[in-house]
Amino acid sequence: MSADGLASKSDKGAQHEVVRELYARFGESPFTFQPTVDKLPTLWVDQSRLGDVLRYLRNTIARPYKMLYDLTAVDERLRKNRQGLPPADFTVVYQLLSIERNSDLRLKVALTGDYPSLPSIVGIYANANWYEREVWDLFGITFNGHPNLQRIMLPRTWQGHPLRKEYPARATEFDPYALTVAKQDMEQEALRFNPEEWGMKRGTSEEDFMFLNLGPNHPSAHGAFRIVLQLDGEEIVDCVPDIGYHHRGAEKMGERQSWHTFIPYTDRIDYLGGVMNNLPYVLAVEKLAGIEVPDRVKTIRVMMAEFFRICSHLLYYGTYCQDVGAMSPVFFMFVDRKKAYDVIEAITGFRMHPAWYRIGGVAHDLPQGWDRLVREFVEYLPKRLDEYQKAALENSILKMRSRDVAAYNTEQALDWGVTGAGLRATGLGYDLRKARPYSGYENFDFEVPVAHHGDVYDRCLVRVEEMRQSVRIIKQCLENMPAGPYKADHPLTCPPPKERTLQDIETLITHFLGVSWGPVIPAGESCQMIEATKGINSYYLTSDGSTMSYRTRIRTPSFAHLQQIPSVIRGAMVPDLIAYIASIDFVMADVDR
């Protein structure tokens, strides 16, 4: 069984405009079209033509693909359902995004050999840098011409490349871990920063630079984030962000958990986003499974997702004020957050990580009296936001600290793959809830807040306004909550429908398998992007017709945002960096996965 219809060899993808343009420019021979369930134009391209194709798409083509949205790889060696696809041991996948077309293009390069290599594209898309390092780190695929192909997620002393299929996924498959003194010293030494490696000078003829290790433990690093600063006084000459301290191998876990049991792991990707993280995952799985969910499910999902957007933004608001030195606001915002979590807890049973969405629905129906709780909250919050406007946002010192600090324009934002409020603060109102509505967002009346300076202050402004819009959306959910079931009537929903199990044997068997193994999702590829709390978050799932995902790619916004830091902060001062970090709104779990 296959969701993509891989066999339909005759489909050359000519229904997609960009595919026609590419055929016209390069001919059909370098490409192989692959139909996918997410209808995202997917082309396999010859390794030799990759550079030309990307350059054409970025620079020459009308309405270009300015953003390298994602770059990842798949270990194809154990994949069974790949009829009609070019032979490959590994595939490197490039996903490009065009704002003008409001559409994406997925390019794949087939690689053969156990440790294959291909040319780096850092020269074309600057933000490919970290993605290529990640692919090298986790797959062992070499990118020729990469400026500094180092491990990024794992420690430099690590042996092996964990996302390869031969690499074990469980701690029980390894020898017990032991940390000897010698090993500790070696690990410490591996963490020592070496400026020359990054093309930095230790000083000029007149002065030495100071190299300051900010993090991985620092009050304002928002998690285990390390950034090494090259300082001249307090001025930042250059810096190198170092991530990976929060890496838990979520993508690898995706290959060992059933489709259903992976949902709680998604909660912890952006750990402030709660059920918002479930959304792209379950939507992608539902596409593969061909499940159409009832309206009530869509509306409940939207409502809870917006609740978590508010929670996440409130925390952002508070810590943002705290990082520019105001100590009180964060306490007020935590009070509000607590009230929101009270509502969330009453509905889902949990506060931060409810893992509440299910494939084909949600875990249970809304409880009695949910509307009163939700109404109380949406009436309470806007007044508090008005207060903060005066208490925090209009404070002249706060403005002084954040106006024109760490500013970038739309073009730079697209170059670095910036999405979410960081992009909208530059004046580009690109919000997936409007641009590519999912889960019924097209039925809601709300605005996309934008600001125009692209600085620290504007990023905060946009998020504050987004909270008001979220309140608006929740109100509409409250007033127009559709009646109906909270789960789709489909054999692949989780947990599967039980009502008729004692009446006919077919349903009983499906139910038994669905509960014991978990659902078997048809083979295929699907990607779902959503406007998450911190930017665009997506799950790119490859199913091989099994109870587990063959490959789970989690594209998170924070990863891209951190990569951008050096280009923005050069020449600024340490306090500016702190304000900038605060304004990005990232959590390290969302960066490292």
Binding site: M210, L212, N213, H218, P219, S220, G233, E234, C321, Q322, D323, V324, G325, A326, M327, S328, F331, F332, V335, A391, N395, I397, L398, M400, R401, M573, V574, P575, D576, I578
Partner: protein, 346 residues
């Protein structure tokens, strides 16, 4: 024989009586100051709690008042830890300087018409000198710690000092010119009397500009928000005292609060009539309570400032110091000087 000895002792006592009396009052006042400062930590935590919708310490003793004692006991029994990489003598010296300078600075402040540690005729100059010296605590602490965050804290402190010390001194010269004396007791006495029976002749009216400039300078002396750049916890971890722990950290901590008490007391003395207030002429003991009450008000306002303001960048502070405060202070000095000369009929 016994008689003889007793007489001798009495004679000796009579000779030394004023000194002993002074020593005892000094000890009481300075000890009282340290205790007040320590309890101000409690006050700050409670007030911040009140303003931030939470409780603050409320477990130890009534209203949590015993929290300070508990903290003190804890901090006394902590290991006196010297990190191996520090410059030891300087590292130890820095908190001692911090503490002693703040105590010394308080010595020149008159608490009431009769109370006070020392009446120096150069009282205000003495304070300015002490304020200058107290920066060494931060600078040496930051430098000797041999840690990058501490160093940055020390550098910031130095930069901040050279920008506020100048206008602080000049801002206070207006008061001095008006009074014609550096003695703080004289300055208070010169603020006696009132217009229309209810507007006191406090310097806050005649020296508005001086006061405006003095307030930020006073905040800066104590390194409190928004002038807490040397320790800016969201940027420099703990700034100059990142490497300190135990009692040495405790001395930095308490000295900060002693500084707040001192500067609040000084604001009271210079601009708000010190111990002067209604009924002081009839009930002189009331003077101390007026003084304490006014000082307390300023101490509380310090806490309110901390609760409500973010922290500027240090180049912004320096810019504000040189481009706004200094010209205002100079203007104030020139105008006051002209008025003094005009009144004197020169």
């Amino acid at each position: 024989m016994v008689d003889h000895l007793l007489t001798a002792a009495l004679a000796w006592f009579n000779v030394w009586k004023p000194y002993i009396f002074t020593a005892v009052t000094t000890l009481i006042i300075l000890l009282g100051l340290v205790i007040v400062a320590a309890w101000m930590i409690w006050l700050e935590r409670r007030l911040l709690g009140l303003w931030q919708d939470r409780y603050g310490p409320n477990r130890v003793g009534p209203l949590g008042l015993g929290q300070v004692i508990a903290d003190m006991i804890k901090i006394f029994f902590k290991e006196d830890w010297l990190p191996p990489f520090v410059d030891k003598p300087t590292f130890v010296l820095a908190p001692a300087i911090a503490m002693s300078m703040m105590l010394l600075g308080f010595a020149v402040i008159p608490l009431s018409a009769t109370l006070g540690v020392a009446d120096l005729n150069i009282g205000l100059l003495f304070f300015l000198a002490i304020a200058g010296l107290s920066v060494y605590a931060v600078m040496l602490g930051g430098w000797s710690s041999n840690s990058k965050y501490s160093l940055l804290g020390g550098v910031r402190s130095t930069a901040q000092t050279i920008s506020y010390e100048v206008f602080m001194g000049i801002a206070l010269m207006g008061v001095v010119m008006q009074t014609g004396s550096f003695s703080l007791r004289d300055i208070v006495n010169a603020q006696q009397g009132s217009s229309f029976g209810f507007i006191p002749h406090w310097n806050m009216f005649s020296q508005v500009l001086g006061l405006i400039v003095w307030v930020p300078a006073a905040l800066a002396v104590t390194h409190r928000t928004p002038f807490d750049l040397p320790e800016a916890e969201s940027e420099l971890v703990q700034g100059y005292h990142t490497e300190y722990s135990g009692m040495k950290f405790g001395m930095f901590m308490v000295s900060e609060y002693v500084g707040i008490v001192m500067v609040s007391a000084l604001t009271t003395t210079l601009f708000f009539g010190g111990w002067l207030g209604p009924f002081v002429d009839r009930l002189p003991w009331l003077g101390f309570f007026w003084f304490a009450g006014k000082t307390f008000l300023f101490m509380a306002s310090y806490i309110l400032v901390r609760a409500s303001l973010p922290r500027p960048r240090y180049d912004q502070i320096m810019a504000a110091g040189w481009k706004f405060c200094l010209p205002v202070a100079l203007l104030n000095m020139v105008v006051t000087g002209a008025l003094v000369l005009w009144k004197a009929g020169v």
